[in-house]
């Protein structure tokens, strides 16, 4: 923003700086959304006692599925649905193995992750040079026109707002509804839930599929909206960060969202600082998002009792009705 006749340069520059802060906030919300969607999916998995280390692989497969769907149909919605479908399908395969066949959750999850990386690269070969139809810029009428605030908050993809609504809905569902209680009890004490007549394995299986679908939605968001292209390995570790977020956020939906924004914010901030010429080694800046997220979330959850209350007691443990 150049200075306009009459306005002192300092003021004009401050205005430019303010605007760049507004854009920083906008970029933060966008970056956080990717992580939050996947982490909330993994939270649902973990609430029923299943750890799925396959997030990265599921997100990659969903990214290529979503990208391919948009290439062929031209519709972003089709892309999101394809991504969710791919995620749910892989979630289902994972679920059959760990829930019905009783395989080790960690080993199976790692295998799924490795498989997803390789498989997505394999099926994606012919899509490497493809491009998507022009991307739409979203904005909320009237609100987007407010100076600074509009640029910061009201020019986002609908999913950015969708994830906030979803967190509220999830909190209500998990803590205020009977179904939510059943879901949590399956993760806390599958034996009790079973004794009460609930099908532990079916509930776990459904939750794992829903979790997979959300990881898939996040993957599709990456390849369709966030970085609209397909190259192999493009999720670049976001699945692992989402996994870590669920633990650091002590399995609380609202904290996951905050943690995701924090991580996204510090990620964007390091580039922003570099752009401003701040003299911090860029290697240290690259490590900053991880460091900041770990420190803040560790501080929030430093109370061991709090962790014990929130961590699903049967996390990672298989359940067999006859045992």
């Amino acid at each position: 923003m150049r200075h306009i006749g009459g306005i002192p340069i300092a003021l004009a520059e401050r205005e430019g700086l303010m605007e760049s802060y507004a854009l920083l906030i906008a970029a933060t919300l966008n970056a956080g959304t990717v992580l939050a969607i996947a982490a909330l999916g993994l939270l649902i998995n973990e609430k029923v006692g299943v750890v799925n280390l396959g997030a990265e692989g599921m997100m990659l497969c969903a990214a290529i599925a979503g990208f391919a769907a948009v290439v062929h149909t031209g519709s972003d919605l089709a892309g999101f649905l394809a991504g969710m479908g791919a995620g749910a399908l892989l979630g289902a395969i994972f679920g059959v193995m760990v829930i019905y066949l009783g395989t080790n959750q960690y080993a199976t999850g790692l295998a799924l992750s490795l498989f997803g990386v390789g498989f997505s690269a394999f099926v994606g070969i012919s899509y490497v040079q493809e491009k998507l139809p022009p991307r739409t810029q979203f904005e909320i009428p009237f609100l987007a026109d407010i100076p600074l605030v509009g640029a910061a908050f009201f020019k986002q993809h609908p999913l950015v707002y969708g994830v906030i609504a979803f967190v509220l809905a999830l909190i209500w569902f998990l803590y205020k509804t009977r179904t939510g209680l059943v879901l949590r009890s399956v993760g806390e004490s599958p034996e009790s839930a079973h004794a009460l007549g609930y099908s532990v394995r079916r509930i776990r299986f459904l939750a794992v599929m829903v979790g997979g679908a959300l990881c898939g939605l996040s993957g599709a968001y990456i390849s369709v909206v966030y970085t609209p292209l397909w190259v192999e390995g493009m999720v670049a570790g976001k699945g692992w960060i989402a996994l870590a977020l669920t633990t650091f956020a002590t399995w609380r939906p609202a904290r996951i969202l905050l943690g995701a924004y924090l991580f996204g914010g510090v990620t964007m901030l390091q580039f922003h600082l570099q752009g401003l010429g701040v003299q911090v080694p860029s290697q240290l800046l690259s490590a900053l998002p991880y460091l900041a997220t770990i420190v803040v979330l560790a501080l929030i959850s430093r109370n061991p009792a709090w962790i014990r209350v929130n961590m699903p007691a049967s996390l990672g443990k298989p359940f067999h009705p006859s045992s």
Binding site: A107, V128, K131, F271, Q279, K317
Partner: protein, 373 residues
């Protein structure tokens, strides 16, 4: 506690096997073409890539050149490639494998293969090794590189004219002389047509990470840059510019298709002339060690698909630069060149030699920020 019984161990083993099989099936190695009834035994040529051939940039350019090479020599040669070989102990094993499979010319296409290749070359004197971007040689190991900065200069000339904010942005990878040189040369090109230009740089400390490249590009645009360049391997920067209504360049490979509205031109590397020369020499028994650094002159560097809205005088200037580099009448790194601190780094009329170019660790005037150490 989970008790591992015999059945679950078997299941885990089965899953591991299936996964391993799937990964192998996904293909690390690919026999490119079986020789069709060879009269003489065809020369076996192998390539080792650091990235996936599908990166759309660096490795993609190497693999296109490999295909050109096959076209050139037909059934006189057989080529093989191994992709995604990390710059670690794994690299040495791969080179040894390829050597034992009877390959007679082996190309390694990233800096980090330098020491592994040197070791394997010492044990396989009859095989010719070609190492891209390195500096160590042996009797049967030589190096080759391309003058990517020539492409960066031409991109700069276009960028300097097309910027409205007089602020350019570069998404940079790893702070080594090659990348710093490209940032400087890009800025020098821009200043040659628009002295007011400033360049902002954001380092991501990786060659290939599309989401990070996107975030860095977004930060640069938010900071006022309206023309972007990148020294990373994917097309994410160009795509981000497309999405945000700014301009950018393709790098290593032609990236027009990724961002048709944003695309100002692609600074491409064509490795084919060198590969054809090298294999030709090996076939004729004329291969000797050495070091090559090819640019526009040898057909290794080009600026392609310049956007239609770039003014004609700038297009003409780009063509003049190409012609000047070809016949040697124009040198990019010719003094006076002033460093960021205002001190002269190259005196008037002095042309930098390759040693100078290989050791650039400073920013020239007009680049903002500090070089990470």
């Amino acid at each position: 506690m989970t008790v591992l019984n015999k059945r679950s161990i078997l299941k885990i083993a089965a899953i591991s096997l299936v996964t391993a099989a799937a990964l192998v099936a996904c293909g690390k190695k690919e026999e490119a073409k079986p020789a069709a009834a060879p009269k003489a035994e065809p020369l076996k040529v192998a390539f080792v890539y650091v990235g996936p051939v599908g990166d759309g940039g660096w490795t993609f350019a190497h693999d296109n050149a490999r295909k050109e090479l096959e076209k050139q020599f037909g059934d006189k040669i057989v080529t093989t490639f191994v992709e995604k070989v990390p710059e670690s102990a794994d690299a040495e094993r791969n080179f040894r494998d390829l050597a034992s499979q009877g390959n007679k010319v082996i190309f390694g296409t990233t800096f980090g293969y330098m020491d592994p290749m040197l070791k394997v070359a010492a044990d396989n004197k009859e095989i010719k090794f070609e190492h891209a971007t390195g500096y160590k040689t042996a009797d049967n190991l030589r190096t080759y590189d391309s003058r990517t900065y020539e492409g960066a200069y031409m991109a700069g000339v276009i960028a300097g004219k097309m910027t409205k904010t007089n602020t350019l942005g570069v998404v940079a990878s790893i702070p080594i002389p090659e990348v710093i040189r490209n940032i400087n040369t890009f800025t020098m090109g821009a200043q040659s047509v628009n002295p007011k230009v400033k360049t902002k740089v954001v380092w991501i400390n990786e060659w290939f990470n599309p989401p990070k490249e996107t975030e860095a590009a977004t930060a640069l645009i938010n900071g006022g840059a309206d023309v972007l360049m990148q020294n990373t391997d994917s097309s994410a920067v160009l795509q981000t510019a497309e999405k945000m209504g700014k301009r950018a360049f393709g790098w290593d490979s032609d990236m027009t298709a990724y961002g048709p509205k944003a695309h100002l031109g692609s600074a491409v590397i064509n490795w084919a002339p060198y590969y054809i020369k090298s294999v030709g020499e090996a076939l004729d028994g004329k291969w000797t060690t050495g070091q090559s650094w090819w640019g526009v002159k040898e057909g290794a560097i080009d600026m392609v698909n310049v956007a239609t809205d770039v003014p004609d005088d700038i297009k003409k200037r780009v063509d003049e630069i190409k012609a000047g580099l070809k016949d040697g009448s124009f040198a990019i790194w010719k003094g006076p060149i002033v460093g960021q601190d205002g001190k002269e780094v190259l005196a008037k009329d002095v042309v930098a030699d390759d040693k100078f170019l290989g050791g650039i660790k400073f920013y020239v005037k007009g680049v903002e920020g500090k070089v990470p150490n």
